[in-house]
């Protein structure tokens, strides 16, 4: 651990750190462009010059490149380095247009900051400036190449870090261009990161263009609600509109990158049909009246029909606090314990993760540093996009990824893919034969092994089997870590809160005793399989109550509807796939955007005391009012920790923190079921998440529309031949969930004997994560 002196301050840092990092640790900001803590140092911009006064080679050095040495003496403000940085600032500004007044980056532009901090103020160069013709890079990213200062961060992010192959560096000398071969939408699922990494206004968020100045935005540390990874985000809003989402920084989770689904998928917050008023049957009522009505209805139902009559349903997209308060409400009203996830199998699997693996969970940082990761039953880009980036980083560090999945999985890195059908995958995990033994040997030999498991595809059975793998591969020197891929932002949290003996939703509904169902941020018709049976069960209810912020059809059919708020309008906590508690803070108060009240005009022509559309209330607050609890978050957390000691970190957690793991639990005894037998002539159903449009939130995000793809029936080419089916022709699929007519797509990379359907809203009945089932396929009807 060398100790060095920078600007007369002494610091001890770990071996291998650079002067720049040491200076940062001291709070000394050395101006820089090309250095980025995740992308590393490349020494291109030369802005971070400092003077080293000691050692064998004293003189002006690039702080990002020079490792610290014992006894090193460095100055950052001496004349030589300050003058040089001033010159670098001048050189970088040779071609930069003075268009700050109309540039979207203005106010959060690193070039503005660094130019000022480097001391360059007066233009001396009177020669010609270079100009470029911009490209159309699609609906997400706007390009303004004239502003480019050639720091190469964009290419390093898009190509090197994210593995995109349709973006590059063209030209040379002082005519370097960063873009695509031809105009067109950037193909990478991580394209939005260009906006965050560009230090000036070359790449800006096209969906945010000309909407706000950064200093006018209301911003807060948040957690992405789109999947179970739980990336750190910084959403920004203004004029009651959520205008953009930037990546936050969580070294344990997403580092400083997020996926496009998370970045551009927030349209549901200001969806034009978002329900904002409470409704009792066909009557609009106030929220207060709705709560009075709800209180009365629950009370009456319990009194009349007993504790079974009222069923409260929580959600894996609702906060930990909301789900907890739902349990409190059940106690308050004397009804049976709530069900926290309508999707029973997903819930069971999440419970496996939350209880039985809790001692060996891996963070994404563990995966980035792993030398061997086995991935079973996951399509990372569809189910947990940032996991795909973590796998890429480990491969870049010579790590190896072996992936077993029936789907034609793509990853932005080299990996070995074995297309196993779901049943074959279960067999591999159960016994595995030669291949299984080989994999266990590899795990045993690896230095930092990780197993990644897809909850949807493997189910509780697969995870139970993997417990043996994880414990078997661990030894005294090192653990074998485990990363479960769960479906919802708070799947882990709802699983952790649930009581083990709880029946699933459908069983209880079909049991006939339930008279009243209160769905809190959950639509079982869209978020759980067997929707038809749900629909039938719902018709037998006396009352259906829905609390939600999404314009679901279930909400439209509710007897009592209460509007709530999405995470951006609420404070709360999620627990991500690896059991990490993460707090998010409210960005905006609810309200109709100006776009909705006055077609974007300003100021609005109607005046009222209350903000239009501001009625919705965060669910946790609604529930606290319902049960007469004070809206005190700290008190609530103390209460939660008292009863659930695993949540202890909640008390110290702050938004923007990397988050803390929940306490571990004792693994439970296992009971491994048999797989259902496959009827002759059938295919194994593989219902998968699509990259876009599978999670309910992004289905209501219109910005993502350009990325949606129509649902097709994916089959292995051999199966096409055998069944006389043709690529692009219609086929009829008869499943346990209904019969569907879909266009056939030949998918060479997938497992034979499987029928792949990517769920993206075209077939809302087909929900990923169901028990293994089989289907019949026949060529489509004569009408096509």
């Amino acid at each position: 651990m060398p100790t060095l002196t920078i600007d007369n301050q002494t610091i001890t840092v770990s071996e291998g750190k650079t002067i720049l990092e040491a200076a940062e640790a001291l709070g000394i900001m050395v101006p820089h462009f090309c250095y980025h803590k995740e992308l590393g140092a490349v020494g291109a911009c030369r802005m971070c010059a400092v003077t080293v006064h000691s050692g064998q080679m004293p003189g002006l050095k690039m702080a990002c490149l020079v490792p610290v040495e014992e006894g090193m003496v460095v100055t950052t403000g001496d004349e030589a380095s300050a003058t040089f940085r001033d010159r670098v600032g001048e050189w970088l500004m040779l071609n930069h247009p003075h268009d700050c007044p109309v540039c979207d980056e203005g106010g959060e532009c690193q070039l503005q900051e660094m130019t000022i901090s480097s001391g360059h103020g007066i233009r001396r160069y009177q020669g010609d400036k270079g100009t470029y013709t911009n490209q159309d890079l699609g609906p997400f990213i706007a390009q303004e190449m004239n502003r480019c200062i050639q720091c190469y961060r964009c290419a390093r992010t898009y190509k090197d870090y994210c593995g995109g192959r349709d973006f590059g560096v063209m030209g040379s000398r002082n005519r370097v261009f960063f873009g695509r071969f031809k105009d067109g939408m950037l193909e990478s699922d991580f394209s939005g990161n260009l906006v965050d990494v560009c230090p000036t206004g070359v790449f800006t968020d096209r969906t945010f263009r000309f909407k706000s100045r950064s200093w006018d935005l209301e911003q807060a540390d948040s957690v992405c609600p789109h999947c179970g990874v739980g990336c750190a985000t910084i959403p920004g809003g203004r004029l009651r509109e959520l205008q953009r989402v930037c990546s936050g920084d969580n070294p344990q989770v997403n580092a400083t990158f997020i996926c496009d689904r998370g970045r551009f998928g927030s349209g549901y917050v200001s969806h034009p049909e978002r329900p904002r008023q409470a409704r009792h049957n066909d009557q609009v009522i106030s929220i207060d009246d709705a709560l009075i009505e709800l209180d009365a209805q629950i009370g009456a139902a319990v009194q009349q029909h007993g504790p079974e009559a009222v069923l409260l349903l929580g959600s894996d997209r609702a906060s930990l606090e909301t789900n907890w308060l739902l349990q409190s409400a059940a106690k308050h009203f004397g009804c049976r314990v709530p069900v926290l996830n309508a999707h029973a199998r997903r819930h069971q699997t999440a419970q496996m993760a939350a209880f039985d693996f809790s001692a060996s969970l891996a963070s994404l940082e563990d995966i980035r540093n792993s030398d061997l990761t086995l991935v079973f039953g996951v399509d990372p880009l569809a189910e947990a996009p940032i996991l795909a980036l973590a796998l890429r980083q480990m491969v870049r560090k010579q790590g190896r990824v072996l992936l077993y999945d029936p789907r034609p999985v793509e990853l932005p890195c080299d990996f070995d893919h074995q297309a196993y059908s779901p049943a074959a995958l279960q067999e591999l995990l159960e016994d595995g034969g030669v291949e299984g033994r080989h994999l266990r040997d590899l795990l045993a030999q690896a230095e930092r092994p990780v197993i990644v498991a897809g909850a949807d595809l493997l189910g509780p059975r697969g995870l139970q089997l993997l417990q043996g793998w994880t414990t078997g591969a661990a030894n005294a020197e090192r653990p074998c870590r485990f990363y479960p891929v769960l479906a919802g932002a708070n799947s882990f949290g709802t699983a952790l809160l649930s009581l083990p003996e709880q029946d699933d939703l459908l069983t209880r509904l079909e049991g006939g005793k339930v008279k009243m169902l209160v769905c809190v941020e959950n639509d079982p018709l869209l978020e759980a399989p067997l929707g038809e049976r749900f629909a039938a069960a719902l018709t037998r209810l006396d009352s259906l109550v829905v609390v939600d912020y999404l314009p679901t059809s279930l909400g439209a059919h509710a007897n009592l509807f209460v509007p709530s708020c999405p995470p951006f309008e609420d404070d709360g906590t999620f627990i991500n796939n690896e059991g990490r508690l993460r707090r998010y803070r409210r960005v905006l108060k609810p309200g109709l955007t100006l776009a909705h009240t006055d077609q974007g005009g300003h100021p609005p022509r109607e005046f009222s005391l209350a903000t239009p559309g501001s009625e919705p209330m965060p669910t946790a607050l609604l529930l606290q009012r319902l049960i007469g609890q004070k809206p005190d978050m700290n008190a609530l957390h103390r209460q939660m920790v008292e009863q659930q000691p695993r949540l202890e970190p909640l008390l110290k957690l702050k938004p923007g923190d990397p988050g803390v793991r929940v306490g571990s639990a004792v693994a439970r005894p296992q009971n491994i079921d048999k797989l259902p037998e496959q009827p002759a002539g059938t295919f194994q159903m593989v219902v998968s998440a699509a990259r876009y449009g599978s999670d309910l939130l992004s289905r209501f995000a219109e910005k993502l529309a350009p990325r949606l793809t129509p649902t097709r029936l994916g089959l292995h080419p051999d199966d096409l031949v055998e069944r006389g089916l043709k690529d692009g022709a219609p086929a009829v699929v008869e499943t346990d969930f209904g019969s569907f007519k879909l266009t056939v797509a030949s998918r060479p990379g997938m497992a034979a004997g499987c029928a792949l359907v990517e769920n993206s809203g075209d077939c809302p009945q087909l929900i990923p994560g169901a028990e293994l089932s089989y289907c019949h396929i026949s060529p489509g009807g004569a009408d096509e």
């Binding site: 802005m47 050189w91 050639q150 560096v169 000398r173 002082n174």
Partner: protein, 425 residues
């Protein structure tokens, strides 16, 4: 005129290329026989170190020392790469050598590959040298058929395959790590060092990159011995002969093989046959476009690495470009800076944008619109670019600028005071 033993040019005949038959008839591949037949790889490396051969590509790094960093005994793929991207203005000696005698390079590469235990070699050759590339391809075929290349060379058990790799015209490829990127088919920006190519070079494997002339010297060192080679030079510390490519305002602009340490006067007056049109010598670039100017006061400086560094210049590639008394050194420097600015790869700021700034300053001064403020800015640019760029390209560009400011500042002042170029007709 000194009688220089001709090593590299011993087979050279005007307008002709020597191929295998004539090459072997004049002692060709004897060095290879000696090397693989009687010497160990380590002994060859020691010999080259003892011969004090310094790289002929411009930087002058001792070849034996460079080879000493190479993990020759490490198993696995390793590469030997010949840098024939000769693109520095005023430098054309490798082109002449390969036009005359391609086998000499090939023999040198095989011996070097044996010394370094590399199995695969590449000759990276610039676009304009298509004739030379054709010569090399033919020579490789001949050598392979004769058993000098390929498997089990001369029964030694040593295998070596050699490929010619073309380019498409950029000076930066002469920088060895940019060259490796170019060879791999990725953008030829120089690489961050460390790791040095000896550790992680071509395709991530240990690689040594040497210049054509450097490698062509190896067979002669093997046959003649280290002391003989050192004694070829006229300076005590020097070693060997050097190909001097003459150009500019000389009566004779040809390429000569001359002893290291020959005086500038002898090169200019004897070999260059004096300045053209009966004019006076004003200045020269002693070793290519990146070397600071020498002037009349330097006529008796021995042309070798150390003496030239002592007078603030560099030996470089020994491409001597002379300027007559009527040359505007501001304009000459502007031409040189324009070359470097245009050849910048665009990676680092001082080179990409700094050279643009310098070019603009020189244009302003040369046109007579310049002021003393511009002169001060020019000096300031020299201070702030020198030693601060990512690779040696911008550093090289500062050579002539430093020469201009050191020796010809008054000429700049004359431009400013008169409001026009004093040399313009």
């Amino acid at each position: 005129m000194s009688q220089t033993p001709q090593l590299l040019f011993k087979n050279r005949k005007p307008g002709q290329t020597v191929f295998l038959k004539d090459f072997t008839a004049n002692g060709g591949y004897e060095g290879l026989r000696t090397a693989v037949g009687t010497m160990t790889p380590a002994a060859i490396r020691e010999l080259v170190k003892a011969a004090a051969l310094r790289g002929r590509g411009g930087a002058g790094f001792p070849t034996g020392v460079k080879w000493g960093f190479f993990p020759a005994d490490k198993p696995g793929p390793k590469y030997l790469v010949c840098n024939c991207d000769e693109m520095e203005p005023g430098t054309y000696k490798d082109g002449v050598l390969l036009q005359a005698d391609p086998h000499q390079l090939i023999e040198g590469m095989i011996i070097s590959a044996f010394a370094l235990q590399t199995q695969v070699g590449y000759i990276f050759i610039r676009y304009a040298y298509e004739k030379q590339a054709e010569n090399l391809r033919r020579a490789i075929t001949e050598a392979t058929q004769a058993g000098y290349l390929g498997k089990n060379i001369l029964g030694s058990g040593f295998d070596f395959e050699l490929h010619v790799h073309g380019s498409a015209g950029r000076y930066i490829l002469g920088e060895e790590t940019a060259l490796l990127n170019g060879l791999e088919g990725i953008r030829p920006n120089p690489r961050l060092k460390p790791p040095f190519p000896a550790m992680r070079g071509l395709f991530g494997q240990p690689t040594t990159v040497n210049n054509v002339e450097t490698l062509a010297n190896i067979p002669h060192i093997v046959t003649g011995g280290a002391q003989w080679f050192k004694d070829l030079a006229l300076t005590v510390d020097g070693s060997g002969t050097k190909l001097f490519g003459l150009s500019g305002h000389l009566n004779c602009t040809e390429c000569f093989e001359l002893p290291v340490g020959i005086s500038l006067r002898e090169v200019i007056e004897t070999y260059g046959q004096g300045i053209w049109k009966n004019k006076q010598f004003k200045a020269c670039l002693p070793g290519g476009a990146s070397t600071p100017y020498l002037t009349r006061e330097h006529m008796d400086v021995p042309l070798d690495f150390a003496p030239l560094e002592q007078v603030g210049s560099r030996f470089g590639t020994a491409g001597v470009t002379a300027f007559d008394e009527d040359t505007c050194m501001v304009a000459a420097t502007l031409n040189l800076i324009s070359f470097f600015a245009r050849e910048s790869c665009g990676w680092c700021t001082p080179c990409r944008d700094g050279l643009t700034m310098v070019r603009w300053l020189l244009e302003t001064l040369e046109s007579g619109r310049g002021t003393h403020e511009h002169l001060e800015m020019l000096k300031d640019q020299l201070t702030n670019i020198s030693g601060k760029s990512f690779c040696a390209l911008a550093e090289g560009a500062m050579g002539p600028l430093a020469g201009l400011l050191n020796h010809f500042e008054q000429e700049i002042v004359d431009h400013i005071d008169r409001g026009h170029c004093p040399f313009s007709k």
